[in-house]
């Protein structure tokens, strides 16, 4: 890419600690290749000493292939750190994408937060 133009990053990630090594990352906005910093930062905060980290996609507006690439990177980090990465709140379209890319084989998917909490 020429110049230093970077599209605006429109992504917020909030980490909730539910105790007992369970963390939830609430995602709000768009996940593209430019969100690396936000994702790495959130995952660092959530992953430290975690048993399971859940990505909450309920307020995801948009995700493209660059974003999927970042999820794969995050998944690799989670495996190295030895915690489980799961997801919930995906709509039908992104669920299909998770299934096509077979990301759903590596990341357990739950319908919603309640469903995830029930699995613990």
């Amino acid at each position: 890419m020429k110049g230093n133009e970077m599209p605006d990053v429109n992504l917020a990630m909030r980490v909730r600690d539910l105790g007992d090594g369970v963390r939830i990352i609430d995602i709000e906005g768009e996940i593209t290749a430019f969100c690396e910093e936000v994702i790495v930062d959130a995952h660092q905060r959530a992953g430290d000493g975690a048993r399971v980290v859940a990505l909450n996609f309920l307020d995801l507006d948009y995700m493209n292939s660059g974003g999927i690439g970042l999820l794969v990177t995050t998944l690799i980090r989670a495996q190295r750190q030895g915690h489980q990465l799961v997801a919930f709140g995906l709509n039908d379209h992104y669920r299909e994408i998770f299934s096509l890319t077979r990301l759903d084989e590596a990341i357990s998917i739950y319908a919603d937060e309640e469903d995830f909490l029930a699995s613990l």
Binding site: M1, K2, G3, E5, M6, P7, D8, A33, F34, Y62, N64, S65, G66, I68, G69, L70, V72, T73, L75, I76, Q79, D92, H93, I97, L100, T101, R102, L103, E105, A106
Partner: protein, 533 residues
């Protein structure tokens, strides 16, 4: 629902809650006695007594005589405390004889009345939660069943229709939400002849889809054995009769077309008649016979007709004629025949009928039944043939954006605006994802992020498909990562975590084609419109 508690002073106490669903039969009396859980059916005289009592009812004092009261007395219940919520008897607290052999005191009864007034709302809430959960899981089950049914059906419908010189064959299929049992098929027969099938299974959902699948494969097998449409239908009938579930049957019309002569030979198993638009008006192709699967030994007479140049044959299912408008009137055969007769020589009959149906039923209305249409047009001359095959597109959007990453969002938004409500939401989301990825590739790989270079986007609507062409001008491309992404290889570090773009594009659209002209590189994405071919 029954729970046993030990009450004060050692009396055996049990809480009974009533089934709140209307018309639910009471538990059989023998079983009820066996576990002493006694239903008080709606309308039982004891119900009125309990609703009026305002507190415990002593069955040894009260003389009410009803099946429920008798059953309770027989199982040793002495005191019945009604549980009432919002004027409804939702259950009872049943107490047996006091172990001390003393009668229940006024204090006991007051305590029980207090207890019941607190227990009743709690039980009602629990019942409501239980009912809601049951309803939700039932909805989920129905939804899954619908998906299975629609998958079976759509998998078995022809993916494309044959190209027959001098003829134009077209089909339309749009399932109802509940997925009826419509199907159609196109079979290549020896000597260039063509077999056309249209049918409708009387039922919906998975059972209908399974019968449809059986019928389709049986028919395909029967066609191998006989040239005679009557024999084919009779054969299928004999196979289906013992197989088909009770009260289900299949209406089906089978027609063989000889494209050289224009002769059609057909037989009918109770299906809607085909119509032919001829130069002298619309005619019916009459043929009758019993639906398939109804009774063994059914005969199907064979009829023939000539399809002249310029004629159009229409095969249809009930979905169109039995559609209703908001005032409850049926679309009907007369209206359909009117549309067939009025179609211009080069008009698109299926398009015309579907558009008319949608405006009749109301665009927002939920479709009642599957709609299936198959049209067979005999072209009138070579010139007509050439013209008929020209599918002139309508340009829905045409624009360019500079090659700056992030602009793929603008591409998506402008394309979406151009489409209006052309695509159903699910298809739209898929196309959006594919277009975003294609635009990103054009910006990043094609034009190499040079803002001076534009990415051109053109959205065109053809008769049965939508095309989105994305062109970059960056000249020969650098290597695109053409490796099929594999999640395991990526997790193992054998592949880059990225490289999903092309894969996603291919998965999201019906077709993807690339062309190169000089410095221009175009990716064309195709989405088929509507159901069917």
């Amino acid at each position: 629902m029954r729970e046993r508690l030990f009450g004060r002073n050692g009396a055996l106490m049990a809480i009974f809650t009533r089934s709140m669903k209307e018309n639910q039969p009471a538990a059989p009396s023998t079983e009820a006695l066996a576990d002493s859980s006694i239903e008080i059916p709606a309308g039982d005289a004891l119900e009125a007594v309990l609703l009026d009592a305002g507190g415990p009812v002593d069955l040894s004092e009260n003389r009410v005589d009803s099946p429920a009261a008798r059953s309770l007395r027989e199982s040793g219940v002495e005191l019945v405390v009604p549980l009432i919520s919002r004027g409804e008897l939702i259950g009872t607290l049943n107490l047996g004889h006091r172990r001390s052999d003393q009668p229940y005191s006024t204090d006991d009864r007051r305590l029980l009345t207090d207890l019941s007034s607190q227990v009743a709302p709690a039980i009602r809430v629990a019942q409501l939660v239980h009912e809601q959960q049951a309803a939700a899981s039932e909805r989920e089950r129905i939804e899954q069943e619908l998906q299975v049914a629609s998958l079976i059906q759509q998998t078995l419908l022809p993916k494309e229709l044959p190209d027959v010189p001098g003829w134009e064959i077209d089909a339309f299929y749009r399932p109802a939400r509940a997925v009826g049992g419509d199907f159609y098929d196109c079979l290549a027969l020896p000597d260039g002849r063509l077999g056309l099938v249209i049918g409708d299974v009387t039922d919906k959902g998975v059972p209908a889809a399974l019968v449809m699948a059986t019928c389709r494969s049986t028919l395909r097998a029967a066609v191998e054995r006989s040239d005679d449409p009557g024999v084919v239908l009779a054969d299928v009938n004999e196979v289906l009769v013992p197989e088909i579930p009770a009260r289900m049957f299949v209406t089906c019309l089978y027609m063989i077309l000889d494209p050289d002569s224009g002769k059609v030979t057909f037989a009918n198993a109770g299906h809607n008649l085909p119509y032919v638009r001829t130069s002298s008006g619309v005619i019916e192709l009459r043929a009758t016979g019993m639906p398939l699967g109804l009774m063994p030994g059914s005969d199907y007479e064979v009829h023939t007709a000539m399809i002249e140049p310029g004629d159009i044959v229409l095969l249809s299912s009930d979905g169109i004629v039995e559609a209703h408008n908001p005032s409850g009137e049926m679309y009907g055969f007369a209206r359909m025949i009117g549309r067939i007769g009025a179609i211009a020589p080069d008009g698109d009959l299926i398009d015309d009928l579907v558009t008319d149906l949608d405006s009749y039923a109301g665009f927002e209305a939920e479709q009642e039944d599957d709609v299936t249409l198959v049209s067979v047009r005999r072209l009138s001359s070579a010139r007509d043939a050439a013209r008929a095959f020209v599918d002139e597109p309508e340009v829905l959007a045409s624009f360019s954006v500079p090659s700056v990453l992030g602009n793929e969002r603008e591409v998506m938004d402008r394309m979406t605006a151009g489409l209006g409500k052309l695509l159903p939401q699910e298809q739209l989301l898929r196309l959006q994802t594919a277009v975003v990825e294609t635009a990103m590739n054009a910006i990043e790989h094609g034009n190499r992020g040079d803002p001076e270079l534009l990415v051109d986007v053109e959205v065109k609507r053809y008769r049965r498909r939508l095309e989105v062409a994305v062109t970059d001008h960056g000249g020969p491309r650098g290597e695109i990562d053409a490796e099929t992404p594999d999640i395991e290889a990526k997790l193992a570090g054998d592949q880059s975590p990225r490289g999903w773009g092309l894969f996603l594009i291919e998965q999201m659209v019906d077709e993807m084609e690339t062309t190169a002209h000089g410095d221009d590189f175009t990716v064309t994405l195709t989405m088929r419109l509507k159901g069917g071919a």
